[in-house]
Symmetry: C4
Subunit: 293 residues, 4 copies
């Protein structure tokens, strides 16, 4: 069965549910976004005590309607796709399942109720479906820069983690449980909130030595922020430069002068006519001013 | 009427009120800045309880004088301009109206009184009137860099919003209303204050699991700040580089193709020999050392 | 008198007090740094209640000794310099005076006592005296970058100030005096502490609408930090690039090919011998790898 | 003895303990990492009151086992190395000793017990042993950038320190001990927590003037963060650029002068004609797209 191409109602369903090129597919996706946002709003509203007491029953009913809708959609996806198991175990398949489970589970474990909120992750799929190409490109550019600097970031993070572990222990000894540093894990939590400049203030040093040490940690964390910023920024800047400079690797076949503009017809050095420049050879940069004509 | 050019007193008023090239126009604008700043100071002082009790009446009187002045100015603008409706619906026209409304509305709805402060936005117009050219250029340069990176920033912001929604929900389940996480909206508010490293501390995790999760969020928010910074910085650096590469204002005398490289001998477009390039032709960038030769 | 060159003891004093090239001058400066740091430590210790109660008298005595020493030094500077008035009104002259005044004034206005701490500013002079050339260069490089971007920073700061003024007013209306937003100035203080991600938490929003608005402000302030960072970073990067590129403005006298390396003997384009390149024409960049030989 | 090469069991021990090229050496290192992490977990768990009361005895016993293991390992290192004294005084030798001391010392001074956590620093050695080459390169690249900018950072830090000293004193005078600013050191601690945007909120200004001053400090600290970020980022970007400009590995065949520009026809040093430059000779930078022909 998996190798048979989709036909009949399954093909039609597939086109509507998974794709967004037809009018029906577009409408389906727009409705889906609306329902997801609405169902998140319902869960959030229901968690507010004063709203829950007045409209609790109505919200619960609405939520069951949404859940049944999503369940039906999940089944339709399973039915219309060629390889149901592959879909069910894919990233989006798991999210689709996770989005309907909490309501059912909450019948047995009421605490899980709030997790219906995970539905927000479903928006990821809808974004993808809309094929917002420009945004996808931006996202990939961000992801590429972060991935290229992941090693530097890991080295930096492990250094920070060692630091907060050691400093948390030192503060536990210096301040002690009497001043709120009740255990080493708590002190490490405090050290992290200090180094990252969050500074909740639920725990704060009270001895002079503790304040001296924490002053040092604050300055360190504040200044150190420069390191991840520097890593990511120089990575991004380098990528931009490459995009921009790419235009300048075109070479004259006569005098070998490098750096001909992408739309040049003649070599700027010897005046020889340049062969046509096909775009496949160089991707022009994203958004520079229109190249001179 | 709209097509008739302004004449007589309307032209004279227009010159004084809307322009800043004559002596009278300059004086008018300077007086306007002074009155706006003064009226904001009055509103701020009046909101301080101890000042209000002693000088409340006097401040109220002063404010009415200012409001009548601004109302008269608004009418004058309406009268002197060629197309009153177009002005009234323009950005600055709306701000001018909004700046006088609160005092009148406060007669009926006293709470609106404080909104007189919106008058600060009127300063935007005055800045523009003064035609502070250099500052406008800087502002445009900032705006261009932000606008060029708006897509990357939107992608980043929507990722952050999904994160705080999911993490807020998780913390609502983990900590619960007993520890201050009274509802999902409140937990999301806490998640935002944590990820942005603000950390008010009005709500703070108390369980060990909650502190572990929030440690993770603090590190994430602290390190992630590198992303918007990297986006904006690399954008600005790229623009600077382009300004520097502005050696591209050199133009071919034959085909008028702009953007010839500084060391080119032949036009890249038509192959005509370029005349020698004297430094006077090139606009040097803002503040580098004078280029030799 | 001002035109007479310094002679006799005045010249000798001048050499010791103002310069640091002789052995005596060096010793004097080192002693001065020690005394300044010591006197600051005394003031800080004296402000701690528990130390003050036990050692108050001794610290007071020590401080008077320091003050008399500094007073004598100030007189000696006045006497040994050629134009006493010019010194007394110079930046460093004022700081030297300000460093001794508080102790005397504290006889009449005890609150001023703590200001003796201003002595820390005297260290600026001592740094200068030591002629720490490398550090001065770094300082100038920082100052140049900041000064080149001062307009962009001013535009940015005035936008932020308008924002916190408007948002502070909005929060004053939304939250009201009952929730700690007692007046518009207080609300603006809160808005600044939120936008800058400081978040003391002494005042915090309690209504749902207030929390929504402040969530927006936190995200804004967190992301906006990218703007000053981008301004300063791109400025610094541009300066570095210029230093580095400076080597490439050297031009061949035969074929006018630009960008000859600083230590090149022959043109890379036509092979003509290059005239000797005197360092006055180009400052090599600060710390690149040794240029290829 | 030191000059004799290692033989017999000492050589075998050395290979296992200090190196990671053999199977046994790898296993030893992996076991060591496990034991270190486990022993840190034990110390952290033991500091939590509720766990200590129930499992205190068991954890204490486990810790003694770990300490004896580490002591045995320390002795083995001393025995198997050629120059025991050199090892004992090296950085890693000291950390290895410090990792076992606290348990013994805690017999006499129980407070030192928590310092067993310093064992986390031992992981540094293990990282090194694994010769994670790529990570070491990243680490060196970070260290190089930070070291190249250490002077700028020092100048910046000393300016910040002078600022917080002066502002802390001013706030001590303005707010006074009644509002929590009990001494100058405490006020300086507060000033640091404000300028670094940490903002614990354990101390917060209460007077209007104090809030005005602290608003100014918050804006300053927030904006100033741009300076260290700019320093580190421009340093990193410059290093990346240099890697990219590494087109400077092209060498003249006559005089071996390295660093010929990619488009040079003649050697800049001896004037010899250079052979055509085929791309294979240039080392491409780390992760750009393959340069087009």
């Amino acid at each position: 069965m998996p190798e048979k191409p989709l036909t009949g109602w399954r093909l039609r369903w597939y086109t509507v549910i998974f794709e967004a090129d037809t009018r029906a597919g577009r409408l389906f996706d727009q409705a889906l976004i609306g329902v997801i946002l609405l169902s998140i709003a319902v869960v959030m509203a229901d968690s507010v005590q004063s709203i829950h007491q007045v409209h609790g029953r109505a919200l619960m009913g609405t939520e069951w309607i949404f859940t049944l809708l999503f369940s039906a959609e999940y089944l339709a996806r399973l039915l219309s796709v060629r390889r149901p198991l592959q879909y069910a175990t894919s990233f989006y398949g798991v999210i689709d399942l996770v989005a309907v489970l909490p309501t059912y589970l909450a019948l047995f474990v009421p605490e899980l109720h709030a997790f219906i909120d995970v539905r927000v992750l479903r928006l990821l799929r809808v974004f993808r479906v809309f094929k917002l190409a420009a945004y996808v490109a931006e996202y990939q550019s961000l992801a590429r820069a972060l991935s290229a600097s992941r090693r530097k970031i890991l080295v930096f993070l492990s250094a920070v983690l060692m630091l907060v572990l050691v400093m948390g222990t030192v503060m536990y000894v210096v301040e002690g449980p009497g001043n709120g540093f009740t255990s080493i894990p708590t002190s490490v939590y405090w050290a992290i909130s200090t180094v990252t400049t969050v500074g909740f203030g639920d725990i704060a040093p009270k001895t002079d030595l503790g304040r001296l040490i924490s002053s040092f940690m604050m300055l360190l964390g504040w200044g150190t922020l420069a390191v991840p910023t520097g890593i990511v920024t120089s990575e991004m800047a380098a990528h931009r430069r490459m995009e921009w400079l790419q235009v300048t690797t075109r070479t004259c076949h006569e005098c070998l002068a490098e750096g001909q503009a992408a739309d040049a017809n003649f070599c700027f050095n010897c005046g020889a006519r340049l062969p046509p420049y096909t775009p496949a050879q160089a991707k022009p940069p994203a958004d520079p001013p229109a190249p001179p004509r």
